[in-house]
Symmetry: D2
Subunit: 277 residues, 4 copies
């Protein structure tokens, strides 16, 4: 479907995260190993925090692997928090407004997976979005509706609860329309200070998701690896697929769970949809 | 806002209609004389009938004046019925799914103007679209919603009535939300056999619209004009702006009226919105 | 690198050639089996004969598999002679002017492969192009230079000789600059009446190339296949990869040879570069 | 033809330079007052210094006024030195590789104007480019050839001399081919530390060019203008058209002259082509 990467930590150039790793996201755009499709060439997006109140977003419908603007911007923008996403469209049109990450105020949101039989359930889901938020929807993708549903249900106040409630609505509407598998998802969201990453699917067979081992541990295991001395202890990656084969570096996010990445203490918790009242 | 052209008659190459005339639509994309904006550079579209059950549609977000594919296709496609549209976006995103003409089955639809304060009224208008049609909406423009509203209200059976009812809904929803001028429009629609062209606005001060004088009359007035001997008596153009200055060639469509172009007998009728039941 | 298809025969809709076959060119854009790369997503082009003096050309930098204009045009254009090409860029920029097929007057030209170490030899090759032709070069690809070299050396008069001489120049210039493998190619060219297809490489290990068995023979072998009754005896395909698995349908073009497809009698001949005088 | 802007001074967000001013470059893309064309919608580019060894460059073929990525990047990138350019193509193709500014190493180069009858003289000018530089030419525009000619003739060592020599070559080659007006130009170039701006044309009737009055003087004249208290004394703009109507803010660069913007002391000098040896 898609592949994504979320980074938080020492300020790095985007290219260090997107192009440098052996099995980088750019490499995954042509040769994904764990994805439902090997090619993710239907547009891409990056979101980052730095200059300005809101995160910057750059999205394009070109394949990531041959986009020269992405290559160039990656060399000239540095950030402590990056979201990057490459898309394999499965229904909705390839257009910038359907590229992830989506942004609302200081928030970013991206998704690998799908809302099952979206054409069938779209109208009901859109109706569940707060009317004042509704008018900010610009594209036609399932993920954007998911994001606005989560915003409607309190994403800015309590992300795990809002996502659980949004998934609850999606499960309920899907069930009502006879959809067998209403949702398949790995999702990441952030306000620029913390990041949340979710792994869940109706059939409990979710897309792959990995988080990086903490840097201090890795540094102890690989004392000679220079990269590990460049980044701070707090630096952390969450990715659809491991970016390389450094032993001990990658841990699978368990099925039906979510993680919080924040300064201080990361956390891993079980995740379940919360049915609408 | 935008400029458009509708042609029905002897099969012509698209370039004869789009590029050849002195003040062609392509010229209008850079130098509109009568439009609300002089530049119409936010994408374009052409729809034509010929090979295949449905009309062909080619849409792009490039300015029409520098699009090489449009130039080339225009030289290599011949058609007896062409819709062409150049866009000056006033709010919704520049993306292919927002470019006119819109197509549904054998039908085409294009629009110059706007639904007033669309962000305010969009949700209510979208809710008035038949749920089975709703899922075919791909873009985010006011015109596409207008088109699906007209389809919901019987466009395929009785176009003038369906457009009158759709405008009635738009006027009513606008009034309910305190919109001063709910609609401004010149609209063309066709099923490939007949064409309908509407001119209307809430404030009865509508965008310009012209239709060509019938060819037999023009030929009598200008016996030496070779072009007039190339096209059949039934050939007819409806345009936002006259394409040249041939005397007697262009007639203004009166305020609040619509025309039908068909084999046999054209017709001009008054137009008024029809308030919802 | 790339994949291409050339068709000549009974007029067909482009979609019948590009989208319908089991392992169609569009399928190959995502999942090439015999190509040097599995993904050919760096733009595409089609050229066809029909309306107008010259062939129509539609080229785009989007991946062929998600381009809606290509999908739509394919359903609404019918042609007795089609060239189609999907690109996997290996150096030169992804831009329309680097997409195949290239056109000059009534001629089309497309190529799978490369001129070895093109950056090294480009200047000398460009200098060998006739100065009056030089100014028509618009892009930066190796193939366009190859095409203009062939035009300089008589393509319009004697295509096999002109291609042999162009390859001779490329081999000679490559050798002079110490390039190990100056050329790798399958090439197709046409003037709209005949088609020529070449398979050659400096190292005599050329990209795959197949031509279809003549229709009468296939019809005798598969009397129940309805498609074979739809197309004329003269219909013929030349392709980088077989489009399906109909037994007996595909024949490999031998290494270092070329074929001529024409009304009457096809021909297969040995091919060798002709060193410059 | 085109319009451009060059800024050097206190670090500013790109949007402060591109979007904020009353008659901003974005406004000029739709409504140029002093340009040869009122619309500059054939692509754009920005180049800036900040993160990384080389300047960042973002170029696109969309019109600047509707490009959402430009809008977004402008809000999230801050720079002490910006080049920005909007294009009105007059011959060469609209493609990213023809968008200004052009970059080579740490150098940027942009141009408003044209090389007269470029198709005629292109081959000879390209031949005058150093063969090792030749292979870096990616597009087909006159300006890129001009830039590589200047690089060949010492731009990195002595910009005014190299530009004078490049213009000398262009004048000489043009004269040899009977071109009446071989060059029309305002040009800006920079290495990230100094900027040079040139105004010249064969017919001594050059495109408009203005530089901003030094900030200390302006501040004395307009003690209440808050913007003037935000930027350092060294801040300076060079532009095709004044960005607003602050009295005393804009000075015309005289015909046939060039300016140097550097820390310390700006300079204005006469400019004349230097004929090739």
């Amino acid at each position: 479907m898609c592949r994504w990467l979320a980074y938080s930590g020492s300020p790095l150039r985007i290219e260090d995260l997107l192009y440098r790793p052996k099995h980088s996201l750019i490499d995954q755009s042509l040769h994904s190993k764990l994805g439902a499709e090997t090619t993710n060439g239907d547009g891409f997006g990056v979101g980052w925090y730095g200059v300005g109140e809101t995160p910057g977003v750059f999205r394009s419908i070109e394949p990531a692997w041959n986009d020269r603007n992405l290559r160039d911007l990656s060399r000239h923008i540095e950030t402590p928090l990056l979201f990057a996403h490459i898309r394999a469209a499965i229904g909705s049109v390839v257009q910038q407004t359907n590229c992830h990450p989506f942004r609302y105020g200081r928030w970013l949101f991206m998704h690998n997976g799908f809302i099952g039989e979206f054409a069938k359930v779209k109208r009901d889901l859109v109706l569940a979005v707060d009317p004042t938020l509704y008018q900010s929807i610009e594209g036609s993708s399932d993920t954007e509706v998911f994001f606005y549903l989560a915003l409607t249900l309190g994403l800015e106040d309590d992300p795990p609860d809002a996502v659980a409630r949004a998934v609850g609505v999606i499960e309920e509407v899907g069930a009502r329309h006879g959809v067998e598998s209403p949702i398949q998802m790995t999702v990441a969201t952030t306000d620029g200070r913390q990041m949340w990453a979710f792994r869940y699917s109706s059939e409990h067979d979710s897309r792959s998701l990995f988080y990086s081992t903490d840097v201090a541990t890795l540094r102890a295991q690989h004392p000679d690896n220079p990269v590990l001395h460049m980044v701070s202890d707090e630096s952390r990656l969450v990715v659809s697929e491991p970016l390389g084969d450094l032993e001990g570096a990658w841990n699978e996010v368990p099925e039906s769970s979510y993680g919080v990445i924040r300064e201080g203490q990361d956390e891993l918790q079980p995740f379940a949809p919360r049915a609408p009242g």
